[in-house]
C-alpha cells in the first residue's frame, strides 16, 4: 500500500501524517508514507485544499485533518 500526504508543510499536514501512522499501527498494517509538498505536484492530483490523503494513487480526502479512526475506514481491505 502506498500512502501520500499532500500539503505544503503546514501544521495540519503533519497532524494528518501522524494520524495516518496511528491508523496503520492500530490496523496492524504496513505502508510507505510519502509527503508531497510541491504545490504543482499537489495540484496535479486535482486537489484544491490541503491537507489531502492519497491511497494507492487515489485521492480519498481533501482539506481535512482526519482522525486515526477516519483514516482507518479509508484503508483498503487487506
Amino acid at each position: 500500500m502506498e500512502i501520500k500526504i499532500l500539503g505544503s508543510g503546514c501544521k495540519k499536514c503533519v497532524a494528518l501524517g501522524d494520524n495516518t501512522q496511528a491508523a496503520l499501527k492500530a490496523a496492524g498494517r504496513e505502508a510507505t508514507i510519502e509527503k508531497v509538498t510541491d504545490i504543482i505536484a499537489i495540484a496535479g492530483y486535482g486537489v484544491m485544499s490541503t491537507p489531502a490523503l492519497v491511497i494507492d494513487g487515489k485521492v480519498v480526502s481533501t482539506g481535512k485533518v482526519l482522525s486515526p479512526k477516519e483514516v482507518g475506514f479509508l484503508l483498503p481491505a487487506a
Binding site: I39, A43, Y45, G46, V47, M48, S49, V59, T62, G63
Partner: protein, 335 residues
C-alpha cells in the same frame, strides 16, 4: 439611534477605549508624555498592534466560519452554473469569502481550469481573492470610515470583474501551461460538516493566520509609527503629496516588490493619510502590496506563460492606478 451607532462604532470598531487605556498606562503608570514624539510613537505602536490583533482574531474567526460553507469544490460548482459577465461577478464575490493566502491560489487556479471554467472567470476570482475580503472591509471601516470601506470593496470588485472580462476577450487560453488542463478533477465534498467542526476549523484558522502574519503586522505598525512621528512631513508630502501627479504611480510601483497581508499594510496607509498623503495614494499602495506581489507572480509563472502573466499584472496595476486617482479626486466625499 444614530448616537448609539456612533458610540458602538467608536468603541467596538475604532476602539477608543483602547486608545484611552494605552494613554492612561503610558502617562500614569510609566510616566511618559504621550504628547512627546517618543510617547506618541509608543502609543501608536501599542494601540495599533493590539487593535489589529483583536480585530484580526474576531474577523478571521467569523469569516472562516462562513468560509467553511464554501469549500473550493463548491465554489467551482457554483461558478460552473453561471455564464458570461454573470460568472465574472459571482467569481469576484466568491473571491471575497475565500482564502487569505496567496499560496492556495495555484491549486485553485489549476482546479478551476481543469474543470473547464473559463480563464477570465478564474482570473476574476484570483484578483478579488487577495484584494477584497470581509476582514479588510471591517479594518478599513475601523481605521478610516464606512464610506471608504464600502467604496474600496466596490472598486475592488469592479476591478476583478473588468480584469477577468478583459482576459476572456483576449482569448488567452493557450497561454496556460498544458498540464493545467489535464489535471484530474477531484470533487470530494468532505462529507457533511458538523457545527462543531466548523467552529474548530474557524479557531484553527485564527491560530494559523495569526501565527503567519504577526511579523508583518509588527513591521507594518512599526513603519506606521515611524511615518507618524519621525519622518518629516515635508519629505512625505514632497514625494506622495496630493498635489504631486506622480504620487499614485510611485505608491503603486513601491508596493509591488513588497509582500504583506492587508493587516500589515493598513497601519502604513493610516499613517500616510495622517501625514497628508492622498487617500487614493495610500489605498493604491495597499492594493499594490496585497494584489501584486513578486512571490505570487513567481508562483503564477509556474502555471501560466509570460504573456498572460504580463497582461494580468498590467491590468491589475492600471486598475490600481486609476482607482488611486479616482479616490484622490473624490476624497472630499469620504473624509
Amino acid at each position: 439611534m444614530s448616537s448609539v451607532f456612533v458610540w458602538l462604532n467608536d468603541q467596538l470598531l475604532r476602539m477608543q477605549w483602547l486608545s484611552d487605556l494605552v494613554t492612561l498606562l503610558l502617562r500614569d503608570v510609566i510616566g511618559m508624555d504621550v504628547g512627546s514624539r517618543m510617547g506618541a510613537s509608543v502609543h501608536f505602536f501599542l494601540y495599533d498592534t493590539v487593535k489589529i490583533f483583536i480585530l484580526l482574531s474576531v474577523l478571521i474567526f467569523s469569516i472562516s466560519y462562513v468560509q467553511s460553507f464554501f469549500p473550493p469544490e463548491r465554489t467551482r460548482r457554483i461558478l460552473g452554473q453561471h455564464k458570461g459577465l454573470g460568472a465574472n461577478i459571482v467569481a469576484a464575490l466568491l473571491g471575497t469569502i475565500t482564502p487569505f493566502c496567496s499560496c492556495s491560489s495555484i491549486p485553485l487556479f489549476i482546479g478551476f481550469t481543469s474543470a473547464g471554467l473559463p480563464v477570465g472567470v478564474t482570473f476574476s476570482f484570483l484578483i478579488s481573492s487577495p484584494l477584497v475580503d470581509l476582514a479588510s472591509v471591517i479594518l478599513l471601516a475601523s481605521i478610516f470610515n464606512w464610506g471608504i470601506a464600502l467604496a474600496y470593496v466596490l472598486v475592488g470588485l469592479v476591478l476583478a470583474v473588468l480584469g477577468g472580462t478583459l482576459i476572456s476577450w483576449m482569448k488567452m487560453e493557450h497561454q496556460i501551461e498544458e498540464f493545467v488542463f489535464t489535471a484530474p478533477v477531484v470533487s470530494h465534498d468532505g462529507g457533511t460538516i458538523t457545527r462543531r467542526e466548523r467552529l474548530s476549523y474557524a479557531r484553527d484558522q485564527v491560530i494559523e493566520i495569526a501565527s503567519r502574519v504577526w511579523p508583518y503586522v509588527l513591521i507594518g505598525v512599526g513603519i506606521g509609527a515611524a511615518i507618524h512621528n519621525w519622518i518629516p512631513q515635508d519629505l512625505i508630502t514632497g514625494l506622495l503629496g496630493q498635489d504631486k501627479w506622480w504620487s499614485v504611480l510611485v505608491a503603486t510601483i513601491a508596493g509591488v516588490p513588497m509582500y504583506a497581508d492587508i493587516f500589515g499594510t493598513l497601519p502604513i496607509a493610516e499613517a500616510l493619510v495622517g501625514k497628508g498623503v492622498g487617500l487614493g495614494t495610500a489605498l493604491a499602495f495597499m492594493m499594490s502590496v496585497t494584489a501584486l506581489s513578486l512571490p505570487s507572480m513567481i508562483m503564477l509563472k509556474r502555471v501560466v506563460k509570460l504573456p498572460l502573466l504580463v497582461v494580468f499584472a498590467t491590468i491589475v496595476a492600471l486598475g490600481i492606478v486609476v482607482i488611486g486617482y479616482l479616490f484622490n479626486a473624490t476624497a472630499y466625499l469620504f473624509i
